[in-house]
């Protein structure tokens, strides 16, 4: 009886959080799911019609959709490990203590202070193939001018570079906080036992920051699956759909082509992909624990 009343109290305490979860997470997902099963009728002034799985079947027959899936996966395969590794490297560097470290820490923090749209516009000017700064620097080394964002082989990697420049510093903060929790005595004991710096990093530091690392990896993956601003501001999904990630394709379907059913179907697919990636990451870390 006592246990039951304790559970009741616990549920009451959890109620505000559960309510918020329901309103801000479950409800939008339910609306999206329902919307993906409907389409607008052109004969009846945009009235919603239930079409079952027709949107999914149409989407799976569309080569542009599959190209978007591939671009999204390709982007995430590269950008997530790159951002997490760089963030870890920056965190280790920021965790050092020597004279003048404050200046370096300030440099690491600069990208966080610049909003992503502003960063995109600044990088667009620097990567301009006509009069851009980067091409001028390349010219000093006698390297021919590069098209960057207007070339289908380079555009996606330019976006990876811009998003990493912005993202790595942000994720660094979490890992740096984790590094500060690593007990100094453990490091010193290992040093006395003759462990090299590399051994100490991989055998002591890394296992001890596993929790913030998992948080960064999972959140970064979710954020990058939904990456949209650079594609919207810099390439509009081009050239030749080379940066047309699922999020941008969903946006374009809904807001440019007025096909909200298709857009919501893409969002559901994106949700499934993010969930698969996150579950895989969690299970990877769990397995290592065993």
């Amino acid at each position: 009886m006592k246990r039951r009343s304790e559970a009741l109290v616990a549920y009451w305490m959890l109620a505000p959080a559960l309510l918020a979860l329901g309103i801000f997470r479950i409800y939008p997902i339910a609306v999206t799911c329902w919307g993906s099963l409907c389409t607008e009728s052109f004969a009846h002034a945009g009235k919603l019609l239930f079409v079952g799985l027709a949107n999914y079947l149409d989407l799976f027959k569309d080569p542009i959709f599959w190209k978007s899936v591939w671009v999204t996966i390709k982007l995430n395969i590269v950008i997530n490990p790159l951002q997490v590794c760089l963030a870890l490297l920056l965190a280790v560097m920021a965790n050092q203590r020597f004279r003048g470290i404050g200046f370096y820490r300030l440099l690491f923090f600069v990208p966080i202070g610049v909003s992503l749209p502003i960063a995109c516009i600044v990088w667009r000017i620097m990567l301009d193939p006509n009069n851009g700064l980067i091409d001028s620097i390349l010219a000093l080394g006698r390297i021919p001018a590069q098209p960057f964002l207007i070339n289908q082989d380079q555009a996606l990697w330019c976006i990876v570079a811009i998003a990493t420049w912005k993202g790595a510093s942000f994720w660094m903060i979490f890992l740096w906080a984790g590094l500060q929790d690593v007990p100094r005595e453990v490091q010193e004991a290992a040093q006395i036992d003759g462990a090299s710096q590399t051994q100490r990093f991989f055998r002591i530091t890394l296992p001890l920051i596993k929790r913030p690392l998992l948080f960064v990896l999972v959140t970064d993956t979710a954020v990058n699956f939904l990456l949209f601003v650079p594609m919207f501001l810099l390439t509009r999904g081009g050239p030749a759909y080379s940066t047309n990630v699922l999020m941008y394709e969903a946006y374009k379907s809904g807001f440019t082509y007025g096909e909200m059913g298709r857009a919501l179907t893409i969002v559901m697919v994106l949700l499934a992909l993010v969930m698969i990636a996150v579950v895989a990451q969690f299970s990877l870390f769990q397995r290592e624990k065993v």
């Binding site: 052109f42 002034a45 098209p147 509009r236 081009g238 050239p239 030749a240 082509y257 007025g258």
Partner: protein, 452 residues
Amino acid sequence: MKILFSPFRLLPVSLCLSTAALFLSTVLAARAATTLHWLTLSDGAWPASVKKVIAAFEAENPDIKVELDLYPFRQLFETIEVRMKAEDSDVDLISVDVPLVASYTVRGYLAPLNEYFTNEEIEKTWVKPSWQAGMYKENFMAAPQNSSSQFFYINRKLFQQANVTPPKALDPGKETNYDQIASIAKDDRWTWEQVVDAAKKLTKDTKGDGKIDVWGFEFDQVSRLYQLQCLGESLGRSLVSPDGLKAEGYLNSDQWIKAAQWYADLFNKWKVSPKNVSPAESPDLFASGKVAMFVGGEWNVPRFQEAGVDFAIAPFPYFKEGRPVTGTGSWHVGVAKGSSHKAEAAKFAKFLTEQEEGSKIWFEAQGQLPATQELLTAIENSEKYRSFPKDAYLLGVYEARNSAVFRPVTPGYLQLEDIFFSTFEDIRNGVDPKQALDGAAERVDRFLAQFK
């Protein structure tokens, strides 16, 4: 009593009273006036020109205020989609790009205007193609704000410096009548082949640093359907089938592939046009003397004059083996179906598009080719339009009668326009024209299939 009326007590009391009076009068005034919200363009001189019409309208109708919700060209369409789908009752007026009248009507974005504009009035006010473009079935859905035409702008100074003979054109300091303009357009209109030959000579690296400082040629609306439609149409092929439901065999026809190859070569083979320049930026290149030849709308005339560039205006070029074709059609204004101030919104639409005062202010401020019979007749008859640059409107009238082609009438125009733009951006950036157009036709047809 003395204490009661002392200045120390009177001051705060009078301040409180006057603040309360001000607050009340503001609240009452706000209640009395109807405020209309208009979703419209933020590009170029558009907002400033629109505000001149609004000022005149508000002076005549003190109980109606018009507020602008401004968006750049591409974002405007997206915002209309979002806000109309959300049944936003705060939107009263919408700027409608004319090929979208049918699309907005069937999706319930626009309210019919028949109640406010009689058929007789409509036919009397505007030229037929313009008012017809604003109709859907029997209903008048959007009123024509203006029409448009396309000119070929020449930087005279750059031609002189490069020692290149320019095409026969309307020049500053010269008087020209309609017959002379017709003669230039018929006999001396340049071909695209001549444009490329001249552009090669005009493209220059003046500083010798390996970077081009003066470009030979540039489009105003780079990669946009409105302006590039004339390329394939000049070679004799429309973008979609006559019923507007098929792009395969049209958008990827031999004629369009040839036109697209020519467009690609401007940027990649002959390198006479700059890459990575958006339609919003391209007129500035001509205005600042960085482009020698520019094809663009008549609305650029005041902008170039203001910039002090020494320019002349020639008829829009065409392919040697084809025929002259120029873009036309422009913005209409519609009343939002969900508006709770339809009558007031229609009153403003009428003032802007139909009434002499409003349409004249708009024409003089924005400089776009009018759609009203009255203003077009004035252009043809008035001496004011015989000297440069006003005589360019006579060229606009000539093109409207002889070479103007409307954009395709298709329920999938929204998709066609966006796919066309991204495809021609890809072509500009080096993608094979045939491959790009085949993919585009397939994608457009995928969208058009839902309307069959």
